[in-house]
Amino acid sequence: MDIDDILAEVTQAASPQETRDLQELTRAWVAERVAPEILPYPDALMERVLERIRKQIELVEEQTGNMDPKTNFRLIVIQTELERFKFLVRSFLRARITKIDKHPLHISQNSLSYLSQSESRYLTAHQTLLSSHYQSSFLSQFPTSLHRLDDTTGGISMVDAPDADTAVFCRALNDVGVVNVEGTDRAFEINRGDCWVVRWSVIRDSVLAGDVELI
């Protein structure tokens, strides 16, 4: 343990839950926008954030009648913060929806547990909608052997998967150790505080474990 670790512990303990939540949300938002794959839905965090947004809205509604310039100014600050929080949540959810729409079959086959309840409901409903649209537009007149939408035979898979080899920028939050880039003979060591541009597939597990953040 060196001085950095001690300092980190001190700052972690000193910052209240709210600040850490904001940090976490920002981190999740950046990661979701950068990573090619969908990431686990932060259930507890989202609940806390939404709860706080609701409380702030209530507070603002209660205080609006107040003409005292001091509270009025405070209110403006709160509202600005509220708008920013809302933006973060909105952008985060929209980034997820975009991914869900882009690789629906891949996600429903591989990472369904990463979705929140409402997201998986959206995914299934959207898929049923799409396939019935195809069905009524042209597929019903096809020979039955060609009806499937997730056919993987014949050399071409119909399931579109995200490209796990996309390069991403990342920063190490903890020491990860030596990692190997699959398919090449490159190996390098990731230390705390390092910034790297690597393939997503290489650091995927470290990101999910929270040792590496995407930037």
Partner: protein
């Protein structure tokens, strides 16, 4: 024959991607490609018929080749059709997210184009509306789905702006009369060419719909 029409369809889809509006649905072409698939399927069964289920590709290479070509063409046509419809439905979804009422706009257009008859009649004729009846149904259902998903996030407007907010209040100019709106600071009557300093969250919808213009 053999995928030529499918290619045209894909070119259409490619062009659609870079257009702001949705070009008319190619009913004829879609039908022709589907017909081609059915014909190919008939061909396949005709070729296979004399063998009565005991076809061995290694003994009869030419027939096997013909079968493969037919089969690949069917698959390719299916891919083309799927791609074409997907591009269009993506576009429609995007419009739903941006809060554009696709169906209403369609009716307006068809009302304008079809000189005689009502708007609904113009849509029925088909060549004036750029959506197929199936697509119209799809849009209707997708909007419902979207509304249902959005409804779970009561405090956050998911279809709102994806630009990071900078200021709480902004200057706007009214482009079209929008009537009276309620804000926390009382009601404002939006008359054309007037300017206001309002809270961004209150007027975001109106900006998206083109009633207001943001001044920098």
């Amino acid at each position: 024959m053999y995928g030529e029409l499918g290619n045209k369809l894909v070119q259409h889809a490619k062009r659609t991607q870079s257009l702001a509006h949705l070009p008319p649905y190619q009913t004829e072409m879609v039908r022709a490609v589907t017909r081609e698939v059915r014909d190919l399927d008939k061909d396949v069964s005709a070729i296979l018929e004399p063998f009565a289920g005991s076809f061995d590709p290694s003994t009869d290479a030419p027939t096997a080749c013909a079968l493969i070509v037919n089969h690949m063409c069917m698959k390719r046509n299916k891919r083309c059709l799927l791609a074409y419809h997907r591009v269009r439905s993506d576009k429609l979804e995007e419009m739903c997210w941006r809060g554009i009422d696709v169906l209403e706009r369609q009716q307006q257009q068809s009302g304008k184009n079809g000189a005689e008859g009502s708007a609904s009649l113009g849509a029925e004729v088909g060549n004036t509306s750029s959506l197929s009846p199936e697509e119209e149904e799809y849009v209707r259902q997708y909007s419902d789905l979207l509304a249902a998903y959005k409804g779970q996030w009561t405090d956050i407007d998911l279809t709102g702006s994806l630009e990071p907010p900078r200021d709480l209040f902004i200057d706007v100019r009214v482009l079209k009369d929008a009537g009276e709106i309620q804000t926390e600071y009382g009601a404002i009557t939006l008359t054309k060419n007037s300017q206001f300093y309002v809270r961004q969250g209150d007027v975001e919808r109106l900006i998206a719909q083109g009633y207001l213009q943001r001044l920098c």
